[in-house]
């Protein structure tokens, strides 16, 4: 019984440590902050697109990049710096470490995205039709994207650049098949099939449901998929990290 408070304390301390150490690391700033902004400028600015229509997708993309950018960096960085073994020897478990990494990614994602959202309120005429659903989209979006980030950190390596390249290899294609640049309703054939396979699609759809009320799937389906993929990502990260534990120590 004594172990539960110890485990919770471990998660809190690891989260705080991650926030202090990794939020300002160049790969996080580059791929978590600057990159989605550049994507926004490249695709939306000067193209006479209806920003109100595309804003939910942009918000989902922002959340996706920010929340999934911290996780891939932490474990490889700690293995390279040889701090991972000490971390494991503290009164924490592998699960506490994974959940601490996930929480740090989620807080980064939600913090930056909320900031962008707040600033956008003054620049783009966007409205939220369902505040509860909007908050739920934020929470589930940040959870699933941070869980993806932790999963991307699982390969056995002590080289952060390799993991960042690998994680971008997974993340970049997702933004092109998830209804961000081409609305889901306009997709067909292979594109639509691929969109169904991307968890980001359901986040974009959930933001659409919360902001404009126009969604392809029921919000229940969107929420169910996001909860499901989060659970799968966390479980897979746990299994892979346990298997690769000794590599790179």
């Amino acid at each position: 019984m004594m172990e539960i408070p110890l485990a919770l304390r471990g998660i809190v301390v690891i989260t705080k440590k991650n926030m202090r150490l990794y939020y300002t690391k160049p790969p996080v700033l580059m791929f978590g902050l600057l990159f989605p902004l550049f994507m926004f400028f490249a695709f939306f600015v000067g193209r006479k697109l209806d920003l109100t229509t595309f804003f939910p997708a942009f918000l989902a993309m922002m959340l996706f990049f920010t929340a999934s950018s911290v996780g891939p960096l932490i474990t490889p960085w700690e293995k390279r710096e040889k701090t991972y073994e000490r971390l494991l020897s503290y009164p924490v478990t592998q699960d506490s470490i994974i959940l601490g990494d996930l929480t740090a990614g989620a807080i980064f994602g939600i913090g930056i995205s909320l900031l962008v959202w707040t600033v956008s309120l003054f620049l783009v005429p966007v409205a939220v039709t369902n505040t509860g659903l909007f908050a739920l989209a934020f929470i589930l979006g940040t959870l699933s994207c941070a869980a993806l980030g932790v999963l991307l950190a699982s390969p056995a390596t002590d080289s952060p650049p390799n993991v960042m390249i690998f994680s971008n290899l997974i993340r970049f294609p997702l933004i092109f098949i998830s209804g961000i640049f081409v609305p889901l309703a306009q997709m067909q054939g292979l594109g639509l099939t691929l969109a169904y396979c991307s968890p980001l699609t359901y986040l974009v759809d959930l933001f659409n449901a919360a902001m404009s009320g126009a969604s392809v799937f029921s919000p229940i389906v969107d929420c169910g998929v996001l909860i499901g993929v989060s659970a799968v990502f966390i479980f897979a990260a746990r299994v892979i990290q346990m298997r690769n534990l000794v590599k790179g120590l």
Binding site: P91, V92, V246
Partner: protein
């Protein structure tokens, strides 16, 4: 109750058995040395004892707590210093210690008090706010040790703590180990440095190819494997090997500006050398006797296994 009790530990990596049926018991308050050549299984055993790795079979108890069933409770009893100076380079010495204290659930007031005490003891008070990445290897190791002992652990496990350190840092590390032991901590120490094990440890355990091949006090191990003693002598001028042609001298080896004479009867050798030197009008500048070495025992044990 033993402070550390390991029973029949086995750990395999693919087809390689890194630790093969290792059992050991470290008594409370003891300094226990764990020796072995490179690749013998020292670090893997240490990782099994600290709960970093899970054994394929076997069990580890720290102060009676099964580390694999109750890892957090068991780890609260321990302080661990892994092989590399594993501290966060981007954090200052003080921040590293704060993090360690938080991990062990220490209150803020207790942390502050203990951090000030440890930084002073480790000679790092003036550099407490500098990032650890700017520190020398010895200073990083001092921070690493301070992180491991901040909560005054009952059991302290150190993996090659003096490896690659300068003389001052090495002395400080050894003093800290002795201090912790005097305050009641049990020490488990893996090392390559046989002299260090000889002077520090009450019990020495030797592992080779994943198996424990010997475990006893350093003195008993030495006697078990080598009854030969030696006499070291230096003269005020160069001498030849012919000078040592005596029945009691088993072997004579030049050793810098001295000669090392191996014998099982040092008393007879001493009398012979003094008499012969007087006869030849050669001045003796130094004369010392030494017992069998742990290094010799270690080499014999690991070569036999």
């Amino acid at each position: 109750m033993n402070a550390i009790q390991a029973d029949h530990l086995i750990k395999r990596f693919g087809s390689v058995t890194a630790v093969n049926d290792v059992s050991l018991a470290v008594r409370e308050g003891e300094i226990f040395g764990f020796l072995g050549p490179n690749g013998a299984g020292k670090t893997t055993t240490m990782r099994l004892l600290t709960g970093v790795l899970t054994p394929d079979s076997g069990a580890v108890h720290i102060n009676g707590i099964d580390i694999h069933r109750h890892p957090l409770d068991a780890k609260m009893q321990m302080g661990v210093i892994p092989e590399s100076s594993t501290v966060y380079g981007d954090l200052s010495a003080e921040q590293n210690l704060q993090l360690s204290g938080q991990m062990y659930g220490m209150s803020r007031a207790l942390r502050e008090e203990r951090i000030a005490e440890l930084l002073s003891r480790m000679g790092l008070s003036e550099k407490r706010r500098l990032p650890v990445r700017t520190f020398s290897k010895g200073m990083k190791q001092r921070v690493s040790i301070a992180c491991a002992i901040i909560h005054r652990p009952h059991v302290l496990l150190l993996d090659e703590p003096t490896s690659g350190l300068d003389v001052q840092s090495r002395r400080l590390v050894i003093e800290t180990i002795r201090d912790m032991n005097e305050q009641g901590s049990t020490i488990f120490l893996t090392t390559h440095n046989i002299e260090e094990a000889n002077t520090l440890c009450q019990t020495v355990c030797i592992i080779n190819k994943g198996k424990i091949v010997a475990q006893d006090s350093p003195e008993r191990l030495k006697k078990m494997f080598d009854t030969t003693q030696s006499v070291e002598v230096s003269f005020d001028r160069a001498v030849t090997r012919d000078l040592f042609a005596a029945e009691a001298i088993l072997r004579a080896e030049p050793c810098g500006d001295k000669w090392r004479l191996y014998t099982d009867n040092p008393d007879r050798v001493l009398k012979y050398i003094v008499g012969r030197a007087a006869q030849e009008s050669i001045g003796i500048t130094s004369l010392t006797t030494s017992g069998p070495s742990l290094e010799e025992a270690f080499v014999q044990i690991t070569e036999c296994a």
